[in-house]
């Protein structure tokens, strides 16, 4: 279906609408996964002022727990439920034993401790599950494809998108409509004031940390049937999640949502269309070499630009400095 054309002054590129829609869905999927990681990260960052590099470890742990339960029981639902409980518990333990002691120390300590935690979690997974990755089989219903007109979409891709949107909606209600959410918002804007008003801040921190870990684990469970669970799978995506947090504004769940979608779409679209776009103004050869580098760098360029021109992020939490 190569009927439509974009008209540019000198050259034209054919637009394959099916491909474009597939890529948009891919971008949306990546964006929602990033949101699941980044929303927890941004709250931990904004409320506790804690840099958690090991947030990606929960992503990995979630995937491994889920895979283990699925291989024993054969039920994906059971796998997800058990893994959610486990990541919540592990998140709570990390908060109680380690993170809690460090909220008042400087960021350098956070970077070091969480870097150490990454090493510990990666090695523990290696010891328990071995060096090879773990595939998670999908039930038949989710493994098929959906035909909409000429468009063919994998069912599971839609499942990921829907669950991502569902969690985003739940989180939105939690943050804007409940007492806990009110405290979370207040904490992100002004922690000292919340403390002074007599709120049990330790409990709040524990809940936020553990919920963040659970959402990160959930993202890992969602993606694992496609990519399979592997050691260090969280270490690349966590850096992009940090970019999302910075671009969206530290402590802002709304910011994390929009920034995650922007970055997910930008990254996916960049990787598939940048060489065509560059060919409009550069020679084909230059475009072929420059495009992969540039598309991998796009998200970091966006972050550098945001930090240079709008350091508080695109959607900073209301009332923060």
């Amino acid at each position: 279906m190569q009927g439509a054309f974009f008209n540019f002054s000198r050259k034209t590129i054919p637009v394959d609408w099916n491909l474009l829609i597939t890529q948009l869905m891919n971008g949306l999927q990546l964006g929602l996964l990033l949101f699941l990681l980044a929303s927890g990260l941004t709250l931990i960052f904004g409320i506790m002022d804690f840099i958690n590099l090991s947030h990606g470890s929960f992503y990995m742990i979630g995937a491994y727990f889920c895979g283990t339960v699925v291989s024993v029981t054969g039920s994906l639902i059971a796998g997800i439920v058990v893994a959610l409980i486990c990541t919540f518990a592990i998140g709570a333990i990390v908060e109680l034993v380690i993170a809690r002691r460090l909220y008042r120390s400087d960021h350098l300590d956070h970077v070091l401790v969480t870097f150490g935690l990454i090493l510990i979690f990666d090695t523990l997974v290696h010891m328990i599950w071995g060096a090879a990755g773990m595939a998670i089989p999908l039930p038949e219903i989710l493994n098929g494809q959906l035909h909409i007109g000429t468009l063919v979409l994998p069912t599971y891709r839609l499942v990921i998108i829907c669950s991502g949107l569902l969690v985003a909606a739940i989180l939105f209600v939690l943050v804007t409509r409940t007492r806990l959410g009110m405290l979370i918002r207040a904490g992100a804007s002004n922690r000292t004031m919340v403390e002074a008003l007599g709120v049990n801040i330790n409990k709040l921190f524990l809940i936020v940390f553990a919920i963040g870990a659970t959402m990160s684990g959930f993202a890992g469970m969602l993606i694992a049937p496609i990519t399979e669970a592997s050691i260090g799978m969280g270490n690349e995506i966590i850096i992009i999640a940090f970019v999302v947090v910075i671009v969206g504004g530290i402590g802002s769940v709304k910011g994390a949502f929009f920034a995650a979608l922007i970055i997910g779409l930008m990254d996916t679209i960049g990787r598939s269309y940048l060489d065509d776009l560059l060919k409009l103004s550069l020679s084909a050869e230059v475009a072929e070499t420059a495009a992969p580098a540039l598309s991998a760098m796009l998200v970091y360029i966006l972050m550098a630009a945001v930090l240079a021109f709008r350091p508080q992020g695109l959607f900073p939490p209301a009332g923060s400095k």
Partner: protein, 326 residues
């Protein structure tokens, strides 16, 4: 120039021993130790350069490994075109790392705290992905460097001993540069703006310029470490500038004791030693455990932050009567 304290004497003896290392290793017939030391000293140059901005300047860079990579590729890419002139390699390293540090520093130094950490990370990731996508120079797989940089015979890098003295010389020069900087007016401004930038500004110092200069110097020193690393390993790949490498560099600085003069040297030595012998130690517990050496390593890192303020240098300084952590 060394502080007349017990820890100072320990370091003086250490430097003399390091200077004699090739004789000692050939005497006990263990050339492998010289390899280990060479690697430790190269990393010590990188860690000292990071310490200049992190320890003294309070600028926590999570992207310093980028300069290691830039230095290494300044050897690798000319070598790919059969250009082995060492002066060209060195010149290129200095020019490229200085310009990269300057251009990114213009933006980086406008940010503070968390934002500083994140933006240094962003720029180093950009460098990382640039080299990953350079198919011509091996991309992900990296490059093999077949010959070392060529210098006049009195400055040759050929042979393990010659390369070791190159590295040792570079380390001593680096330490001298950092010492002169830190204990000069320039260094006082840098340390001052770590603690209270507004105060330094109200004293009339353009702290932005001072910090930028400091950042560029640090980048160049780390670039030179990268150039030596390229010559030493004779194989380079983007992996050497991944963000976990930058994390390790911070670890080395803090393990040795940030903002202490010899801390990075101690920290990198300890790091290289652990990296080499933790697998052996794990093996004695259970023969199949040598792959799991990152576990005690991570535990050590967590404990270091929770309990060990001041790093190894801090512990050594407790033997000093005045207790002054230099």
């Amino acid at each position: 120039m060394l502080p007349a304290s017990n820890s100072g004497r320990v370091y003086a003896v250490l430097l003399i021993l390091l200077g004699m290392a090739p004789f000692i290793t050939s005497w006990i017939d263990q050339p492998f130790y010289l390899d280990l030391l060479s690697r430790a000293l190269i990393l010590a140059i990188a860690a000292s350069s990071l310490n200049l901005i992190l320890g003294y300047g309070g600028m926590v860079s999570l992207g310093h490994a980028a300069y290691l990579g830039i230095g290494a590729y300044c050897v690798g890419i000319p070598a790919y075109y059969d250009i082995y002139n060492g002066w060209i390699h060195l010149g290129l390293t200095i020019v490229v790392s200085a310009s990269f540090a300057f251009l990114t520093g213009l933006i980086i130094l406008r940010t503070k705290a968390v934002y500083f950490i994140m933006i240094t990370l962003a720029f180093s990731q950009m460098v990382y992905f640039t080299f990953v996508s350079l198919e011509e120079y091996g991309g992900d797989d990296g490059l093999v460097i077949y010959l070392r940089s060529e210098f006049p015979s009195w400055l040759s890098m050929e042979g393990a001993t010659a390369l070791y003295y190159w590295i040792f010389g570079a380390l001593v020069l680096t330490l001298l540069v950092i010492y002169r900087l830190v204990y000069s007016r320039f260094g006082r401004v840098i340390v001052g703006s770590k603690f209270n930038e507004e105060r330094m500004q109200s004293l009339g110092f353009n702290t932005y310029r001072y910090r930028l200069t400091c950042y560029v110097i640090s980048g160049v020193l780390c670039g030179i470490a990268g150039m030596l690393l390229g010559n030493f390993t004779s194989f380079i790949s983007p992996e050497m500038m991944g963000w976990t490498r930058s994390g390790e560099l911070i670890f080395m600085v803090v393990m040795g004791g940030a903002s202490s003069f010899f801390g990075p040297l101690i920290g990198t030595s300890a790091f290289v030693f652990l990296e080499q012998y933790l697998p052996e130690i794990m093996k004695t517990i259970n023969p199949s455990w040598h792959e799991y050496w990152h576990l005690p390593f991570g535990v050590l890192l967590v404990c270091l932050v929770l309990f060990g303020k001041g790093g190894i240098h801090g512990w050594l300084s407790r033997f000093d009567k005045d207790g002054d952590v230099k």
